[in-house]
Amino acid sequence: MSELDIGHWERITNDLVTLKNTSEMMMDLAYSAVLLNSRYLADEVMLLEEQIDELYIGFQYEVLSKTKTATDPRDLLGLIRLGSVTERIADAASEIAEVVLRGIEPHPVLQMVIQDAEETVERAKVGEDSPLAGKTLRQAKIAEETGMWVLVIRRGDKWIRPRPNTTLKPGDVIIASGYSEGEEDFVQLLTGKSSSEN
């Protein structure tokens, strides 16, 4: 394989990795948007949809331009199919988000029981002085401390799915769901300040 060729496969691999990760994250966020009836999460899914469409076109170009070299077309067909699957999942996720954006009235059939406390989606930025900066999610014990469950982490223009060994960095925006009582603790823990100082 020539060096040029290796670069080409590298791009195809990278694109497919991103397509797969993004589509799965969109699916997670779209269902969370439904179950929490959160427009904010639905909007995040729509933003990801814009990214993935562009990426998918790029991926298809890369794969199709491989037909110029001696590659078994059946192999390329498998790649195109895998790419198309991620794109269809992303589409379905964004349509689910669209249902939320149109407005779902809380209905008994969804058992969105609003008891004493209401479940909400909250976001906060990891501050420079936060005790969480540099810690992994497992060490951060956000759920134990605040009752808020981390849904996704935004780092610059990237979305990261929470995993026990994901390391938090200052500037990360953590999006979490939970009951409203936990919100204040959550913001305080992340920013490293008490809310009165904000």
């Binding site: 990795v17 192999d75 895998l82 996720a93 995993r163």
Partner: protein, 200 residues
């Protein structure tokens, strides 16, 4: 050809049914990707089997939604929920298409293996050896999701696959497919190979 049969009405809770459909379609995707990665037709067939289950659930969901609608406002809500059901079905169809790559012998380019190695979610297959600490424990007991960030998505024992196991007790010779972080899977593989006495 799969036998298509009528879905009989029964009362099901809408929220739980939606969550169940979401879980099954996610599982189908994991299994389908595993089938592609390990070029395994049996796993691909399991995906097709689960697809018929989703089809049934979509019918049930819609029947329950129809009976729950009493007025215009209800109808507005139900239409949205029904749409979400169909979209979940679309996701499961996408998973079935990945399984189709394997079942129809469309090539899996070596680059695909590389893709799965680099993706956030890794997949691994392993066999539980004689002295493994996993033996005698249920998948639920191991609580791998919170311990090491992985899920066991399927167990093959003899000819049979147990999909999405929780109460199954692990036995020597079981072949398992797991999904999760690379480091977590590495720990599980060591445990399956009886190379470690505990998880940390």
């Amino acid at each position: 050809m799969n036998k298509v049969r009528k879905t009989e009405y029964r009362a099901v809770p809408v929220r739980e049914t939606l969550i169940q459909m979401k879980d099954i379609s996610e599982l189908m995707l994991d299994l389908a990707y595993s089938a592609a990665l390990f070029d395994n037709k049996e796993l691909a067939e399991e995906v097709m089997e689960l697809e018929t289950k989703i089809d049934d659930l979509v019918y049930l969901l819609n029947m329950n939604l129809m009976l729950a609608a009493r007025d215009r406002e209800d109808a507005e809500t139900m239409a949205g929920i029904s749409k979400i059901g169909s979209l979940t079905n679309a996701i499961s169809d996408a998973a079935a298409d990945v399984a189709g790559i394997v079942l129809n012998d469309i090539g899996i380019h070596p680059v695909v293996r590389e893709v799965f190695q680099r993706a956030e979610e890794h997949l691994a297959r392993m066999v539980i050896s004689e002295n493994s600490i996993l033996i005698g424990k249920t998948v639920e007991d191991l609580d791998l999701a919170s311990e090491v960030g992985i899920d066991i998505i399927a167990i093959r024992r003899g000819k049979y696959w147990h999909i999405n196991p929780d109460k199954e007790i692990l036995m020597p010779g079981d072949s398992i497919v797991a999904r999760g972080t690379g480091s977590g899977l590495h720990k599980l593989i060591q445990a399956a190979n009886a190379e470690v006495k505990d998880f940390e």
